[in-house]
Amino acid sequence: MTTWSKIALGLCLLAAGAVAAVWSLNLRDEVDVKTTAAYAPSDSLLARGAYLARAGNCMGCHTARGGQPYAGGLGIATPFGTVFTSNLTPDANTGIGSWSPAHFWRALHNGRSKSGRLLYPAFPYTSYTQVTREDSDAIFTYLRSLPAVNQPNQPHALRFPFNLQPALALWRALYFKPGVYRPDASRDAEWNRGAYLVGGLGHCSACHSPRDALGGIRQTLALAGGLIPMQNWYAPSLTSPREAGVADWAPERIVALLRDGVAPGASVSGPMAEVVLGSTQHLSQADLQAMAHYLKTLADPSPRPPPASGAPPAAAAFNSERAAKLYEQHCAQCHGEQGQGVANAYPALAGNRAVTMASSENLVQMVLGGGFAPATAGNPRPFGMPPFVLVLSDRDVADVISHIRTAWGNQASALTPQEVGRIRANQGR
């Protein structure tokens, strides 16, 4: 045997070993779909499933704009291409009508379709894997009760190599480990319920955790805040007191924000408004309290020092006189001369973490697109902010945001017109 063929043989063996490793990592905690576990659908299981489907906001993604509920077809833009959601109605040919409870469980728990095909993690099975078998059966029972809609699934439009199952298998070997939520014995039942909802069906981590270049989430940074891929909204850290950490909030205030979309000194907008609208406003008081209880205990994994007092950190220069004038002209009527806002209507900007946190994406989104808080039972007639995308230039937006980030004692960095332009270019989808 020549040296070269020895090397070649060695490489082949290594490659085979790697494939075997990826293969076995993908089959961890595999579900045997041939066995028929005890499954007894009942009206109470169905009602529970309807509730849990809300907790998971399944309908939010599995319904196209103007389409039949749960019939899928919504395109989810990712950095790797577009993933289209599937038909979850009980249609035998195009939906999950021919699925067994075990098939559905395997999808939630292992991220695999009825055929065994690996599913793309735009379907957040990285979170849903924490869901219990009983809850999975409940959701399955509910989905089976929906009107069947014959609507074929649309093939994903992913770029090479992300469109290949081996690439997905590799991703899963790196970032996905199936496993039902294991209660922490040192915590009480309410905390564990909250952790189960936040980490499982709530899939808060899908947005609120930073992702690496391959779209994976490192567990050590879970809920530490992340830029939502493609949407250019920043889901603030739920652990940091400088972003959306709630350690020092009263539990009722957290409950109010998740239930009503507004709470004293806080409101939700953008993608989180959709979450409140489609999911958390429908949750029980007990479950919201449990989530609040859990969220309050999240520790900040990487505490950063507060900015040094004195001059505000200015990454970009801006004309403060011009900026103040723009603020006066376009913003002060609602947000106040001193950025004090109007209680229960317009958020204060002075001392508001949403204004001063390091990421300014959401401010640009709000100024360009405007928006309403979600209409909920607790806040049925929200106040709205107009879009300024057609009124203000990139420089205007950068100046006015730089102004609110540095005025009235706020100490955050200024913004450049280029940063505004980047987000404007991605709007209008």
């Binding site: 009942s42 009760s145 009107p147 408004a273 959709e274 409140v276 009527q333 697109g369 309403f372």
Partner: protein
């Protein structure tokens, strides 16, 4: 004295309005007007239309029509990203309330601009609007939108007080399938029978017409001419308080 006053008010009123629209300090009020500042920023104060000629008037339009349009944006039958994004998190009940609010506003219409279109185009436009073309089963616009062209409550909009560009782009979007209404989409059936030249003729003539003394929508549609095929139009059901997402009680499937 009276001459002086009218001189002064003619100058002062537009100036005052311009200042108000520029957002000079108006005290906060817990009203729907305050809540809908997000709308009036583009659609003009009180939804009386913006000067750029593209954002349509909202004030005084039939409430059902406005409500249908809000749902059309949210459900993808009309396409304008800013509108869709803005109303996305709102409930049907609130959207209806907003529609009813703008519908209830009685604000004067601006005088129409004289049309630059040739007389022949305007003549053709008038003919299409007032008479249609029976040989092509093309109903007159006034057949549904009311003899006074101020619309018919609750769902049919008026055709006057709208800029030509807006009318042209809406009818063009309908023809291209970019704007749709609830099924059955009667307007699509009509627009499909019109050429782009005819759309422009009708839009040019309509945009140049002054409003009648009574600008309110009519209470009922004019009688349908005997013998012409019916033209059913779809509309959204009004929201019911606490309505379940699906009307039927879900049943367990074994």
């Amino acid at each position: 004295m009276s001459t002086h006053f009218s001189w002064a008010s003619r100058l002062a009123l537009p100036f005052a309005l311009a200042c108000m629209s520029a957002g000079a300090a108006t005290p906060f009020e817990d009203t729907l007007a305050q809540r809908t500042l997000a709308c009036t920023a583009c659609h003009g104060p009180q939804g009386r239309a913006a000067p750029d000629g593209y954002y349509p008037r909202l004030a005084g339009k039939p409430a059902g029509y406005l409500y249908n349009q809000l749902l059309n944006f949210r459900e993808g039958r009309r396409h304008y990203g800013l509108m869709t994004q803005l109303i996305e998190p709102l409930s049907n009940a609130y959207l209806l309330e907003i529609a009813q609010y703008f519908s209830s506003l009685d604000v004067p219409y601006p005088a129409p601009l004289p049309s630059p279109a040739p007389a022949e185009v305007l003549r053709r436009g008038r003919q299409l609007v007032m008479q249609g073309d029976a040989s092509r089963q093309l109903p007159a616009c006034v057949q549904c939108h009311g003899q006074a062209m101020t619309g018919v409550a609750p769902g049919i909009p008026g055709l006057l007080g709208l800029p030509r560009d807006y009318l042209n782009s809406q009818l063009g979007a309908w023809k291209a399938g970019q704007r749709r209404a609830h099924a059955p989409d009667c307007m699509k059936a009509v627009v499909d029978r019109l050429s782009l030249q005819e759309i422009n003729a009708a839009a040019s003539w309509l945009a140049a017409q002054p409003l009648p003394a009574d600008t309110h929508p009519a209470a009922a549609r004019p009688a349908w001419p005997a013998g012409s095929p019916a033209l059913p139009c779809g509309s959204a059901p009004l929201p019911v308080a606490d309505a379940a997402p699906s009307a039927a009680e879900p049943k367990v499937q074994k």
